[in-house]
Structures are given as structure tokens and as C-alpha cells.
């Protein structure tokens, strides 16, 4: 113990703390106001989601998947449906893809507006918090009209969507988009000019491009470090195969960069919604899905507002999945958290935690190690080879792509 150790305090941020919206524990060792060490402990919110899915049939599992996340419920069901449809070999109608796209982008809008408000509250800027949450209500009202609920809309089903969009509803979506665009431009302007906001966000919670690769960060955290990690672009699915998304990155690598990325993504979401609404084709909205899946496994990726969602289904041919794996984006972003926190001030801790837009209960998993304690190691090269095999089966050959060395 060095003589300075008695000057160090360990501040527990959580499990219960006003800045955390869900329980999670961060043990912050302080040297004065500076964070010297940060230990992240999650696991207060384990709900056994995957096991619950495995003990129910596919239709019931979909309702549980809808409730993995309270904010990005649509992204999760889209991902799970995609995995199901791939195994079942279903051809989803184009109109259904477009409706999934519209709801998905509306969800991105309301998730990012929520984030902006929470972030503003963390740095004591309650006025911005109230403004963004007021605007978020418009989106939530639209989603409630589409699906009947403000958060768990229940739009997705296997083989398509459950609810069609009426023409007058689409007109209202466009009206809300016009209204929101004006507000969002104002917030973007605010983020670029407001002195105290910039002073609080710039240069903190740095995660450089190398660190992003090292800690496998996803979503806006990666994009703020200049890495184009957007599943909609790198592996287009559904409607994004037809309508391209404009890549949005930033090179600040810090919380400020993440803010800018999210604000710009909201403007992009509005552009996409307008395009989807204008180009939506007529036709059926779903095809009949089987009760049972043929034996096999499938993995699907969807870009949720917080980053890349990964869902895995293994089927033995029954009407219940044999194994379900849900990798919510926050699960990938936790790994870099200690690195992001260390070296900054205690005052920055809440906003750095908030900057990855953490979703605690979506993330918590219990891991049961199978085997007699012998580690199984699969190195990067083997994983890559497996990935190439997987993509070759879909008709894409990524083996020519060179990856960066770290």
C-alpha cells in the first residue's frame, strides 16, 4: 500500500444511483476528483430471457423477444424473425420489409431522442431533457397508432408484419417528420454551438479506433471513432437492400462525437422514413409461417439504435427452439467501459456511462460453462474462416477482404 492510498476513496456508483436508470454497479476509485480505476459489475437484472424462449414455442418466444428491450423492441423482433425466416426459407413480402423499415427508423428516432434527453440530464441540462422528451412523444404517439402500444408495438411476425399502414397514417408520419426535422436541426445546431454543452462533452470517454477494435464496441460508439460499423450498410438486410443508408461517422472518438453521430442519425432516419413512405409497394404484408422449423441453426444481425443486434436460433425440428442467443448491443459495449472511465473526472462518470446508451436488463446473461473446466479456445483466424464459410453459403465471398492488424 503506497502512502498515497489513504487519500483514495472508492465511490460506489450503483447498484442504486440517481444517474443509473437500471441497476448496475460501478466501483470508482478516486484520486481527488480523478478516476483512477473503474470496475464495472453488471448482472443485477438477469431475467432468463434466453431460457424462457427455449421452453416455449416459436410464437410465444416472439412475445418474449419483443420484451428483451423496452426501447428497441422492434429491432430485436426484426432480428429474431430474420433468423427464423432464414431457417424456414420464407420469402417476406416487400411491403412488409418497408413497414419494418419505417417502424425501425421511427424506433431509432425515439431511442436517440430519449438518449439525448438522458445525456442532457446527466450533465445537468434539464431544459434540453424536457425538450427532447416532449418531441419524443410525437414519435411514441405514431408508434402507438401503428401498433397499439407505445413501446412493445408487436408489429413483427414470422413471415412479415402484423399491421398494415393506412395512407392517412403515412401522411401523419410525414407531418411528424417535417415537424421533427426542424427541431432536430435546432438540436444539432445547439450541440455545435452551446459552450457549456461542448465543455462537458468534448474530450471525455475517449475510445479510439484501435480501442474500438480491441473491445469490439458497436453502434454509435464505434461510429464516433470513425469506424463504419452499421449493419444496415455493411450487411444490408430487408428494405436496406433496396434503399441505401448514408454512412455517418465522426472522428472525435469521445462523448461529443457520439452525440453528433446520434443527432445526425436522427436526421438520416427522417430522410429514410420519407423515402420508405414514398416508395412503399402495394401487396400482401405477410406470408404464412410454419409452426415448426427444420433442424439447423441461423444467425442474424440487425442494426438497433444502440448498435448491432445478434440473434441466434438452433432448431432440432421441433416447434420450440433448442437454443436461443440474444446479443444486445450493450453487451458488446460494456467491455470498453473501464477503459473509457479511467483517467477522467468523477463528474464525467455518469455521462460516459450514459454515452454508450446502456441497456442493462437486455444484457444480463448467466453463463453456464459446459465441460470439465477445460477451456475451448477459438482464435480469430478460425472464427474468420467459419465466417467466410457462412457467407459463402449465402452467395457472398468475403475472403478477399483484408482485415486490419492490431
Amino acid at each position: 500500500m503506497s502512502p498515497h492510498d489513504k487519500n483514495k476513496v472508492v465511490v460506489p456508483i450503483g447498484p442504486q444511483h440517481p444517474s443509473l436508470k437500471e441497476p448496475g454497479s460501478f466501483k470508482i476509485t478516486l484520486d481527488g476528483e480523478k478516476v483512477e480505476r473503474a470496475v464495472v459489475e453488471v448482472g443485477y437484472n438477469h431475467r432468463g430471457i434466453e431460457k424462457a424462449c427455449e421452453s416455449r414455442n416459436y410464437m410465444q418466444a416472439l412475445y418474449i423477444i419483443e420484451r428483451v428491450c423496452g426501447i428497441c423492441s422492434h429491432a430485436h423482433t426484426s432480428c429474431f424473425c430474420q433468423a427464423f425466416e432464414e431457417l424456414a426459407g420464407l420469402e417476406v413480402p416487400r411491403r412488409a420489409h418497408y413497414i419494418r423499415g419505417i417502424v425501425g427508423e421511427l424506433e431509432r428516432l425515439h431511442s436517440h431522442l430519449l438518449w439525448l434527453g438522458v445525456a442532457a440530464h446527466e450533465i445537468g441540462f434539464d431544459t434540453l431533457f424536457m425538450y427532447t422528451w416532449r418531441d419524443r412523444e410525437l414519435v411514441l404517439d405514431l408508434l402507438a397508432r401503428i401498433g397499439g402500444n407505445r413501446v412493445n408495438y408487436g408489429v413483427n411476425t414470422y413471415g412479415g408484419v402484423r399491421r398494415d399502414l393506412e395512407p392517412e397514417l403515412m401522411q401523419d408520419i410525414l407531418l411528424v417528420c417535417d415537424h421533427l426535422e426542424e427541431k432536430l436541426k435546432y438540436y444539432a445546431d445547439l450541440a455545435m454551438t452551446e459552450t457549456t454543452l461542448i465543455a462537458r462533452l468534448k474530450g471525455i470517454g475517449v475510445l479510439t479506433a484501435e480501442d474500438v477494435q480491441k473491445y469490439s464496441a458497436v453502434g454509435p460508439v464505434a461510429r464516433a471513432a470513425g469506424i463504419m460499423a452499421d449493419t444496415r450498410i455493411i450487411e444490408p438486410y430487408g428494405v436496406y437492400k433496396e434503399i441505401a443508408v448514408t454512412p455517418i461517422t465522426d472522428d472525435h472518438c469521445d462523448v461529443y462525437g457520439r452525440t453528433l453521430v446520434r443527432v445526425k442519425e436522427m436526421l438520416e432516419a427522417i430522410r429514410l422514413i420519407r423515402l420508405f413512405v414514398s416508395e412503399i409497394p402495394a401487396g400482401p404484408i405477410s406470408v404464412r409461417a410454419p409452426r415448426k422449423l427444420p433442424a439447423g441453426e441461423s444467425l442474424s444481425r440487425v442494426e438497433a439504435p444502440r448498435g448491432e443486434n445478434v440473434h441466434y436460433i438452433r432448431s432440432t425440428g421441433a416447434d420450440m427452439p433448442d437454443r436461443v442467443r440474444v446479443r444486445a448491443p450493450t453487451e458488446a459495449n460494456w467491455h470498453g467501459m473501464s477503459h473509457m472511465l479511467e483517467g477522467f473526472q468523477l463528474a464525467d462518470v455518469p455521462i460516459i456511462i450514459a454515452a454508450i446508451d446502456p441497456c442493462y436488463s437486455c444484457t444480463d446473461r448467466a453463463i453456464h460453462l459446459v465441460g470439465d473446466g477445460v477451456n475451448q479456445l477459438t482464435d480469430w483466424e478460425q472464427i474468420r474462416l467459419m465466417g467466410i464459410e457462412q457467407y459463402k453459403a449465402r452467395g457472398i465471398d468475403p475472403s478477399a477482404i483484408k482485415i486490419r492488424e492490431f
Partner: protein
């Protein structure tokens, strides 16, 4: 004698102070809410909050010194009330005006901050200790520019009495304009003294859960809350007397003017609170020492020179 005791106790003394503090808190919260697109509380909410807190159970931390823990809220409230009595409310002269009362007021207004520090330090809890040290750090940041900005008008007027300063600027209204930079500095330092956004790092709810007062509950917390709102009234009154010294000479008109002036100052403070994010404690220190202190110092030197040049 009896009349002056009544003046101190009822009007324009303590009874008026408590009523007006509740009104100012209402204005503060309501206008803040309207700026944020919220409805805001009804007019009786500050009083209701206070009554509710007084009725709540008091928990004293096991490690804290009980007497100090209980005495600090009372001491801080008493010092703010004593400071308020030196500000002119009814007419141009305060209830207790004496030579040098400006300096006394400044020291009396420091006591609540020190009480906050002691309260946090005495609670022996990690959040309150950090809050306590932030309170003290912030005090070292704003105290120098605050003193210089508040004393600048006094230097030009050549008196250390608040009522005397008010009388001087009433006689020479144009000289008030000279003190505008000091007014700017004192608005910001007052915001910092009252620990309001953007300078509320000592009680940052999302970081240290309310800071120094985190262990306080029940009537002790109610007293600290009362301190905060009476401090707002007292600081606004002193600022009005020093920097907006416009009087008519008729007592009740002056009283109306006083209400208007303090309301304007409180509204400006609400505007500051609503339009900014909370800055970090190191940024606060840097801002006060590198921007406001030189500005306040320049104002002081200018006022000293002007006093010689104008032959006052």
C-alpha cells in the same frame, strides 16, 4: 424600541422575508418549468414542500456529531436572515443599517456555505464528503470575484453601508452604469454562491446524489432548504440595492420598485439556470480565476481611479 423589534420580526423583517422567499421560490420554479415546456407547480407548492419536510422523520447518521448535525441548519438560516435585514426594502434605508454593513453581509452570506461544508464533512459518508469538498473548492473559486464585485460600487460611493451606497447612487444615477461589469460578475458569482446550474457541481444530483446534504432529512433538511430560498431573496435584495439603486423617495413606491428589481434579478438567474449545462468543478475554478477575477479586479481599479478623477 418596540417598533424596531416589530420591524425586525414582522415587516420588512423576518415574516416578510419568509413570505417573499416562498414567493421567489415559486417564481423560480414556475418560470423554470415554463421555460422547459412544463406546467410547473401551483403557488402553494414551496410551502407545502416545507411543511411536508418538517413533518418527516429525522435520521442522524451514527458517526455524526449530533449537536453539530442539528445546529448547522439553524446557524445557516439565522445568518442569512441577519444578512437580509441589512438590505433596504421599505424606503431607502434598511432595518438595521450601520456603517460597514456590506462587509458584514458578505461574511454572513459565507456562513451557509461553510455550514454546507461542515454538514457534508460531519455526515461521514462518501457522497457527502465529496460534496463538502466541492462546496469548499467552489467557495475558493467565487469568493474573491464576489467580494471584489460587491465592493466595487462601495468604492465609488465611498461608503461601506448598503443603504449609504443606495443613497449615493440615487443622488448620482448615471454612475450606476460604471458598475455594469461588476453587476455581470456578481450575477454569475451569486449563481455560484447559491449553487445553481451551471455552477451546481457541489450538489450534482446525477454524480454525487445531492452532495453535502445527502444524509439530511426531516426538519433539518427543511431548514437547509429554507436557507437556500432565503439566501436567494437576500442575495437578490443586496444585488438590487447595489446595482439597481433606483428610488423614488416615497416609501411604498420604493417597496414596489424593490419587488420589481428583485424579481428581475431572480428571472435573470432562472434564465441562466435554464439555458446551461452543469460545468465541472475544475472548469468552474478555471472560469472564475481566469475570467471573472481579472474582470472584477479591473472594475475595482477603474472605480478607484474614477473616484479620484471625479473628485468624489
Amino acid at each position: 424600541m418596540l417598533l424596531s423589534i416589530l420591524k425586525v420580526l414582522l415587516f420588512p423583517g423576518l415574516l416578510f422575508l419568509s413570505t417573499y422567499s416562498f414567493l421567489l421560490e415559486y417564481v423560480d420554479r414556475k418560470v423554470y418549468a415554463r421555460m422547459q415546456n412544463r406546467k410547473g407547480p401551483p403557488w402553494y407548492q414551496p410551502l407545502a414542500d416545507m411543511l411536508k419536510l418538517i413533518g418527516k422523520k429525522v435520521i442522524v447518521p451514527r458517526n455524526a456529531q449530533k449537536f453539530v448535525f442539528a445546529a448547522l441548519p439553524t446557524v445557516s438560516l439565522a445568518s442569512v436572515c441577519a444578512a437580509f435585514l441589512c438590505a433596504p426594502v421599505w424606503g431607502m434605508t434598511a432595518v438595521t443599517a450601520y456603517p460597514g454593513d456590506l462587509v458584514a453581509v458578505l461574511y454572513l452570506l459565507t456562513i451557509p456555505t461553510l455550514c454546507h461544508f461542515l454538514a457534508g464533512y460531519n455526515s461521514h459518508e462518501v457522497y457527502s464528503t465529496i460534496g463538502a469538498f466541492r462546496t469548499l473548492t467552489q467557495m475558493f473559486a467565487y469568493e474573491v470575484p464576489l467580494f471584489m464585485a460587491f465592493l466595487s460600487p462601495a468604492i465609488l460611493a465611498g461608503t461601506w453601508s448598503i443603504s449609504g451606497i443606495a443613497a449615493f447612487y440615487h443622488a448620482h444615477p448615471l454612475y450606476t452604469l460604471i458598475n455594469l461589469p461588476a453587476f455581470f460578475v456578481s450575477m454569475l458569482t451569486a449563481q455560484s454562491k447559491l449553487e445553481r446550474t451551471p455552477f451546481d457541481a457541489p450538489e450534482a444530483e446525477t454524480e454525487i446524489v445531492g452532495g453535502a446534504l445527502v444524509e439530511y432529512s426531516g426538519r433539518y433538511l427543511a431548514f437547509f432548504r429554507a436557507t437556500a430560498i432565503t439566501e436567494l431573496a437576500a442575495v437578490a435584495s443586496v444585488l438590487a440595492a447595489l446595482f439597481l439603486p433606483f428610488f423614488s423617495g416615497i416609501a411604498w413606491v420604493d417597496f414596489a420598485l424593490y419587488l420589481g428589481k428583485t424579481l428581475i434579478i431572480v428571472l435573470m438567474m432562472v434564465l441562466l439556470r435554464a439555458t446551461m449545462a452543469r460545468i465541472r468543478i475544475d472548469q468552474t475554478l478555471k472560469f472564475f480565476w481566469s475570467v471573472l477575477t481579472p474582470l472584477a479586479m479591473a472594475q475595482m481599479i477603474i472605480n478607484l481611479l474614477l473616484r479620484g478623477l471625479l473628485g468624489l
